[in-house]
Amino acid sequence: VPGSTLEAIAGAEDRLVRAGAALRQRPRERTLESLAAVFDAWSEPGGRWQRRLVAELPAATGFSAPNVEEGLARALASWNGEALREWVTREIGESSTAVGFDQTRVLLAGSIPMPTMLSLVAPLILHSPVLAKTASRDPVTAHVFEESLAAVDPELAAALEIVSFPGDDSDGAAAFVSAGCVVATGSDETVADVARLVAPGTRLVTYGHRLSIAVLGPLALSPESLSETARLLALDVALWDQLGCLSPVAVYCASDTGATRAVDVGQVSEALALALEEVELRLPRGELPTATAAATRAERDGAQMRCAAGEDVSVRGDDRLRWTVIREPDAHWRAAPLHRFLRVHPVHGREALLAAVAPLSRHLAAVALDGFDNLANLDGGPQSLSDDLRQIGASRICRPGTLQTPPIGWHHDAEPLLTPLVRD
């Protein structure tokens, strides 16, 4: 219906003005108490809200139900009320009087629920009413979260309004971003589009797309450890079908330059292939867009052609493109179609490793790091490898198998979530 988006936004805006007035009268502690109760409910394994998403998210997003179930259970396990309070205290202090804008507009993106939940809750903590636009690939999470909020605190839930309209509705988008504060997540292109739309003086908080990698040393790749390392990494890859910013897209197998403990990248690839095949049985890959299938097929065929031309490359994967492992001959970065597509690179020495990772710096989120006697021992060096990787841009260093379980409050851009929303 022409105008319906504009009417929906205007109606929500009016309701939020009233809800905002009530919200600002509340002590923050009351709000935190409610939000803590909501997060406690969400973190309950197999609880009501996780079950709702397991039931509704697969059809909307294309993820398989077991993947959603496992992903939620793992990610939300530690996202309870206590963790929420710790996050708020860490960012703005226990008795902060910081407040957000009269309204915050949140453009949701992607189809992974946890970033959506954080994006909705952050302005509410600052007593800023939220008007959110659902992501086209996830029309579910925001509404379920709103429902969970209403079940605990209807007054607080009234300060959250959700609208949906097509991404190419320019009038709707222009009306949507007319507020004091706008939060946008998405590709560089999306973020630039939003930046063009907002009025001068608007607080624009943007979060870009990111990716993650794994860096493994000899200890993680030894015959005793390899299958377990591969199992853990395969889980990191399989959860959310490798579409999250915390999903590793490349594995660097690092040995020192003396190659006294050179790793066999072929064996690593084989172990990862087996692990991905195994995890597929438990957490089946979801929908594969035709364009991704085409890109995967092209990357596989391209690698096979390189192999045919004499390069030390191998391709492992199943016929249905449910997973792919390509053993690369070097640390040269190559295209990553995602959806469980992994490249395994050998790299010799700290300098080579850091040089290989450096081009990713602007987009690097996390590194799964394991397998070194201590983190400083790859050819020695003035600081630990994790410090080096942080310096390059990684905002999170963790063990394989834990990439998809960041602490609440961590954001893939390594920026705080609350302070950018505080009105000066």
Partner: protein, 378 residues
């Protein structure tokens, strides 16, 4: 001005098998009447495959890994297709390197790998190109007749490794009237000259160039608030996409913009679908079959399959598939090529075609990760 002529001598290097194949392919290309002869195509394609697996070792190994050998393949549909990306990695030629006469390269910057098509002869390349452009872009031209062609792209002299410039150069040399011109110099559109051409045109002309060059022209005309109405019978040929240009535009929007600023109706705008790795090209059908659905058509010595990438079989009706081309003009490299594009079949009478699908405008990512080729431009 085009520098021609070019060396079009045959380049079989004394290999009688290749010479025989080239002769058969050239004979087909030189026929006045086009006939979709499936039997002839199938026989030649399989013969060419057998030659290419024998003459190009990387391709033989690639095919071996798929269980496709010279003796096992009897149907052209079973010929393994090489992805276009492989042309960035491996020199795919069926002749010794020392016999190379020309190399065409895909566009790209100095820090990105570029695909390369190695040629030991331009004869087949040009024998395929000319009748195809004549049929689909200049269908009304009588033999020997010429028309004005204005090119928004570098000359072959300025871009010697560009297959597109080579094609435009040959078109201007062979079909262009004396007032044809390249309105491009030193990497830039010669806007003042082009505006003069547009303003003074009294006879129909053909404006040819990349889609991005047209966007550049149209933006300039917008900023000047200047519109033209090119003489009736004029046509536009645009080619190429927008990848890496920072701006995506659906084709119908581009064509509406062209109509607004240049006065050429969308029905006379022809998209050419070609790529460096292919010796032949496809064109929109709009000038040869204005009443039928717009679709890509090519010459009879080329076949296209749209292959479902997940299952590896022909895509169903209306379903997208990888545009996979079997081009007999590629005697010196590899004839079967899987492009990076998705297409969908467009049924229409006796000559079905296909359409190339772009990224859906406004399509959103499912995750917060990013396909790394987009991010790093690899």
């Amino acid at each position: 001005v085009y520098e021609g002529p070019v060396d079009v001598s045959l380049g079989s290097g004394g290999d009688p098998h290749r010479a025989d194949l080239d002769a058969k392919v050239l004979a087909w290309m030189s026929e006045d009447e086009w006939k979709l002869d499936d039997e002839r195509f199938g026989a030649l394609a399989v013969e060419l495959f057998r030659y290419q697996v024998d003459a190009c070792e990387p391709y033989r190994r690639f095919c071996d890994a798929r269980g496709a050998t010279a003796s096992s393949v009897e149907d052209w549909r079973d010929i393994p297709a090489v992805p276009t990306g492989a042309f960035k990695e491996v020199a795919l030629r069926t002749f010794p390197k020392e016999l190379e006469r020309a190399t065409f390269r895909t566009s790209g910057t100095s820090d990105t790998r570029r695909g390369e098509l190695h040629l030991d002869t331009l004869a087949i390349y040009e024998a395929s190109l000319l009748p195809t452009i004549r049929r689909f872009l200049f269908p009304e031209l009588s033999p020997g007749e010429r028309t004005r062609i204005v090119v928004l792209a570098p000359t072959p002299g300025e871009a010697p490794d560009s297959s597109l410039s080579h094609m435009f150069g040959l078109a201007v040399e062979t079909l262009g009237s004396r007032d044809s011109a390249f309105v491009w110099q030193d990497g830039e559109l010669r806007l003042p000259l082009l505006r003069e051409v547009l303003a003074s045109a009294r006879e129909p002309l053909a404006l040819c160039g990349t889609a991005f060059a047209f966007v550049h022209l149209l933006e300039a005309l917008d900023s000047l608030d200047e519109s033209h109405t090119l003489p009736s019978g004029s046509r536009i040929m645009e080619t190429g996409g927008f990848k890496g240009r920072g701006r995506q535009m659906p084709r119908d929007e581009l064509y509406a913009w062209i109509e607004r600023r240049l006065g050429v109706p969308g029905a006379r705008v022809v998209n050419q679908y070609g790529m460096t790795e292919l010796g032949s090209q496809f064109y929109d059908s709009v000038l040869v079959e204005p009443e039928a659905p717009r679709r890509k058509l090519g010459p009879p010595w080329v076949r296209v399959r749209l292959i479902d990438p997940e299952h590896g079989r022909d895509a169903g009706p209306g379903q997208p598939g990888v545009v996979t081309v079997y081009d007999l003009a590629n005697t010196g490299s590899i004839a079967a090529i899987a492009t990076a594009d998705l297409g969908v079949a467009v049924p229409a009478g006796d000559e079905p075609g296909f359409d190339v699908l772009g990224r859906e405008p406004g399509a959103e990512e499912r995750g917060c990760s990013i396909a790394a080729d987009l991010m790093l431009g690899v």
